[in-house]
C-alpha cells in the first residue's frame, strides 16, 4: 500500500513534522554533555525536558516516574567484558544504583536509580574503565552485537572480534552517525549457530567462506516492534577487510534518504528494504560504494536457536568456557563484583549473551570444578538448558515508562510454575516476555512470546487488570518466522496455567522430533485456544521423564 513519498522532502519539512528531528537540529544529543554541569547547577527542576531526551545519547533514560532517576545502559560491543570492566560496572551499581543491575538482549548492562547530579562521576568512571554508554540509546548505532564466544568457539568459522570492535568504534566516533533517522542495530558473527539473531537486525554480517577467504554475507531490514520483519539477504560476499566500509555504505544509503525522517513510525531500515526490495537496495549500496558487490550465498541457518550455555572446550587447548543462566537477567552489584573477581582469578573474561546470561571464558580445565562451584555460590549454578537461562523478560516495571504489565516478576512466576509442573521436561523451552509492543525481549520469536496488555474487565476498584497476548509459531534459524498473537488478553493471574496447558499439549501430542514451534504451526488457532483452556487439572504436576 502506501510507500515513502516519491519526492524527497527538504529538511525544513522534516523538522516541521518530526519533533525529534527538530530537537536534534537545535542541539545534537551528544552536545548535552557540555551543558551537564550547568544543568546540575540549575537543579533538576529547571532542566528543560528537551535535554532529558538528549541524555539518551549517553545511554540515559528517564525512569518512571520521571522524577529525576535515570537508567544507564552501558555498551559492551560483542558482549565482551574484562574482569576490570565488569568490576567497574559493579562498583557503579553499588555506589549509585542501589546495588541493582540487569543484562539486556543487546549484550548491554543496565543500571537504575542514578541521579542527575552524579552523572559526571558515573560517566567519568565508565571512561576510566574503558567503557562507554555513548550511543546506547537515541538515534544511534546501538551496541554492536556478536556471538559471545567469538575467538573462542571450536566451531566458529573465524574470529570476528576485530570487525566487531572496528564497526562499533567507527560509528560512535563519527558524529554524523549520531543523527540517524532512528536507532540502528548491527550484528556481526561467524558463529555457525547464528546465535546473534541476524534475522532481526537492521544489518547483519553473517560469517562465511568463499574461495578460501573469510568474509560475510549481508542481511538487511530485519526488526521487531510493531512491524516485525525478518532481514533480507543481499546475495553478496564481503571480504573481512571490507566489512566496515560496507556497513558505512549501507548506513549512509539509509541515513541520507530524508523520506524516512518524516515519520518516526517508518524510520527504520526495514521499511526502506520493504519499499524497494533487496535487489534495488543492493544496487543503491553499490552506487554508494562506487563498485558492484561480489555475489555470495547466505550460509545455511541452523536447525535451532543456540545460546552457548553449559561447559564447552575452547579452541585454545586446555581452556573451557562456561555459559551460566542469569534468571530474569538480574545481576546485583555484589554478583558483578564477585564474578569479576572469579574471572580475574584464572585470567578469564566475561561475555554477555543475547538471552541475558553470561559466559566465563578461559577457564583452565583443571580448575573447572572449582570455578563452577564458586559461580554457584555467587548465585549462578550451571544449568544448561533450563528455563531460568533461556527465558527472558524486558525491563518493565517499576522502571520503564512504556510497560503496561509486569514483566520480570511475572516471568519468575511462570518459570517457577513450569519448573514445578514439568521438571526436566520443560528444559529448552524459550519464553520471551515483553511489557509493551516495543519487543525488547523479542516476544515475536520466542517459543512462547508474551506481550503485556490490559483486560476489558476491570478490578473491583475500577482499576485496570493486566493481561498478556500470547504469540506462537515464531522462531529463528532454519524455520525463522514471526509469531502470531494466537491467544489474546489472557488474564495475568492465570497466564501461567495457560502456558502450562499449551506445553502439556505439546508434550502429549508432538510427533517424533517435532519442536514446539512446529507443533504450534501444525495446530490451528482454534485447536490451540481449545488446548489452552484445558480443565483445571492442568495445574497438576507432571512426573518428569
Amino acid at each position: 500500500m502506501a510507500r515513502a513519498p516519491e519526492n524527497e522532502p527538504d529538511w525544513e519539512l522534516v523538522r516541521k513534522r518530526n519533533f525529534v528531528e527538530r530537537l536534534k537540529h537545535e542541539k545534537g544529543g551528544f552536545e548535552v554533555l557540555r551543558d551537564l554541569p550547568a544543568m546540575i547547577a540549575a537543579g533538576y527542576e529547571a532542566v528543560p525536558e528537551e535535554d532529558m531526551v538528549r541524555l539518551q545519547w549517553y545511554g540515559l533514560y528517564h525512569d518512571k516516574p520521571k522524577l529525576g532517576f535515570f537508567m544507564l545502559r552501558v555498551k559492551t560491543p560483542g558482549g565482551i567484558l574484562t574482569p576490570v570492566k565488569l568490576a567497574a560496572i559493579g562498583r557503579l551499581a553499588e555506589r549509585f544504583g542501589r546495588g541493582q543491575g540487569e543484562l539486556t538482549t543487546r549484550q548491554n548492562v543496565q543500571l537504575h536509580w542514578l541521579e542527575m547530579a552524579r552523572l559526571p562521576e558515573v560517566l567519568a568512571a565508565l571512561e576510566a574503565a574503558g567503557l562507554s554508554s555513548a550511543g546506547a540509546c537515541g538515534d544511534n548505532v546501538r551496541n554492536v552485537t556478536a556471538c559471545p564466544v567469538s575467538g573462542l568457539a571450536e566451531d566458529e568459522l573465524f574470529d570476528c572480534r576485530e570487525t566487531v570492535a572496528a564497526a562499533a568504534d567507527f560509528f560512535v566516533s563519527r558524529r554524523e552517525y549520531s543523527d540517524l533517522p532512528r536507532k540502528h542495530k548491527i550484528t556481526v558473527a561467524a558463529c555457525p549457530g547464528q546465535c546473534n539473531a541476524p534475522e532481526i537486525h537492521c544489518i547483519a554480517l553473517v560469517g562465511t567462506r568463499r574461495e578460501g577467504r573469510n568474509g560475510f554475507a549481508v542481511r538487511v531490514g530485519g526488526g521487531l516492534a510493531s512491524w516485525p520483519r525478518l532481514a533480507s539477504d543481499l546475495g553478496v560476499f564481503v571480504p573481512v577487510d571490507e566489512a566496515v566500509t560496507v556497513l558505512q555504505a549501507i548506513v549512509d544509503v539509509w541515513r541520507e534518504d530524508r523520506r524516512y525522517r518524516l515519520s518516526r513510525a517508518r524510520a527504520r531500515l526495514k521499511f526502506m528494504v520493504d519499499d524497494v526490495g533487496p535487489a534495488a537496495f543492493r544496487a543503491r549500496v553499490e552506487a554508494r560504494l562506487g563498485r558492484p558487490f561480489e555475489d555470495g550465498e547466505l550460509p545455511a541457518a541452523p536447525a535451532d536457536e543456540h545460546d552457548h550455555a553449559g561447559l564447552h572446550p575452547q579452541k585454545q587447548p586446555g581452556l573451557l568456557y562456561a555459559g551460566f543462566p542469569v534468571h530474569l537477567g538480574l545481576m546485583s552489584a555484589a554478583q558483578m563484583l564477585a564474578v569479576a573477581d572469579l574471572a580475574e582469578s584464572f585470567g578469564g573474561e566475561i561475555r554477555l549473551t543475547r538471552r541475558q546470561n553470561f559466559i566465563l571464558t578461559g577457564i583452565p580445565e583443571a580448575r573447572a570444578g572449582e570455578v563452577l562451584g564458586r559461580a554457584a555460590e555467587i548465585g549462578f549454578p550451571l544449568d544448561a538448558g533450563g528455563l531460568k537461562g533461556l527465558s527472558i523478560a524486558c525491563t518493565g516495571d517499576p522502571f520503564c515508562n512504556f510497560t503496561v504489565a509486569e514483566t520480570k516478576g511475572k516471568l519468575a512466576e511462570i518459570v517457577a510454575h513450569l519448573d514445578e509442573t514439568f521438571g526436566e521436561r520443560v528444559q529448552g523451552l524459550r519464553i520471551n516476555l515483553d511489557g509493551c509492543p516495543h519487543a525488547c525481549a523479542h516476544h515475536w520469536i520466542g517459543d512462547i512470546g508474551l506481550q503485556g496488555t490490559t483486560l476489558r474487565e476491570r478490578g473491583a476498584g475500577g482499576e485496570r487488570l493486566p493481561g498478556y497476548d500470547l504469540f506462537l509459531r515464531g522462531g529463528l534459524g532454519r524455520d525463522a518466522a514471526i509469531g502470531r498473537p494466537v491467544l489474546r488478553r489472557v488474564p495475568g493471574e492465570t497466564v501461567h496455567l495457560v502456558i502450562a496447558a499449551l506445553f502439556r499439549a505439546y508434550l502429549e501430542r508432538r510427533q517424533a522430533g517435532e519442536r514446539i514451534q512446529q507443533f504450534f504451526t501444525r495446530c490451528s488457532d482454534e485447536e490451540l485456544i481449545a488446548l489452552a483452556g484445558a480443565p483445571p487439572e492442568l495445574a497438576a504436576p507432571m512426573a518428569s521423564n
Binding site: 502506501a2 513519498p5 483486560l455 476489558r456 514471526i482 489474546r488 488478553r489
Partner: protein
Amino acid sequence: MITERIVRADERDFLDEFEAGQLAADFDYTTPEEVLAWAIERWHPRLALCTSFQAEGMAIFDMAWRINPAVRLFTVDTGRLPEETYEMIETVRGHYGVEVEIRFPDALRVEAMVGRFGPNLFARAVEARLLCCSVRKVEPIRGALDELDAWVTGLRREQWASRANIRKIEIDHDHGGLAKLSPLADWTIEEVLDYNRAHGVPVHPLYAKGYTSIGCAPCTRATAAGEDARAGRWWWEKNAPKECGIHCPLETGALEHELEAILARQPAGGPRR
C-alpha cells in the same frame, strides 16, 4: 473458565498486534480523512471521538461528521470546566446538529475525594493533583472506552518527543486493547488551523483569550506570546514529573503510567491533606 474469557474478549472487533502494525505502516502517508473513513466504516457505532474541543479535536470531528454525520463525539465534564467550554458544547450542538455525549465522574468518588482533601486539592501537591485528574478525568474516560472498539484522539507528532513515534492506528494497551486512531499524527498546527478556517469549524472561545491548551478552569491559564506552552498548565507545581504537564496526556498512556507509579508510592491514606 480460561477459554471462555479469551473467546468472549475476541467477540469484539479488536485488531491484533500484527494487523495493527501493518495498518499503521500502510496508513502512515494517507490523509486524516482516509484514516477516518476506513475506521468509521469498520467500527461505527463502536467508535467515538474523544475531545476537549481544542483545534485538533474539532478538525477531526468536522472531517468525521462529513463522512458520517452520526459519528459519535464524547467529552468529559470534570465538574471544573471553564464556562467557555460549556458554551463551546452548545455551539457544536447547534453548528452540526448533533448530540455531544458528556461523561461525568463518579459522584461517590468525587464526594469522597473533596470531602477528605478539599475541593482545591490539586493546588497542594503533585500527588493530590494527580488524584484529582484520575477521579475527575481519567476514570470517566476509561468508562467510555470500556464500551468502544476504537477511539479517536487529536495527538500530533510535532507536539513533543514522546509523541513523535505515535502511529495513526495502534492498539491501546492501556485501555483494554481497543484501537486508538490519531488521524492528525503527521499534521502541523498550521495545517490544523488552516483546515478549521477553510471549513468554518467552530473555535473554542478561550483561544481568543490567549489559551494554548484547554483543560479544567483552575489548572489552565492563558500564556503570553512567546511563552512556553507548558506555562499554561499546572504552572505552580514543583517536583512534578518531567513531561507530566501538557506533554503527558491520557491519550498516550503516559499520564496513567506516571499517576499509577506516583500514587502507588503514597503511604496508606493517600496524599497529604
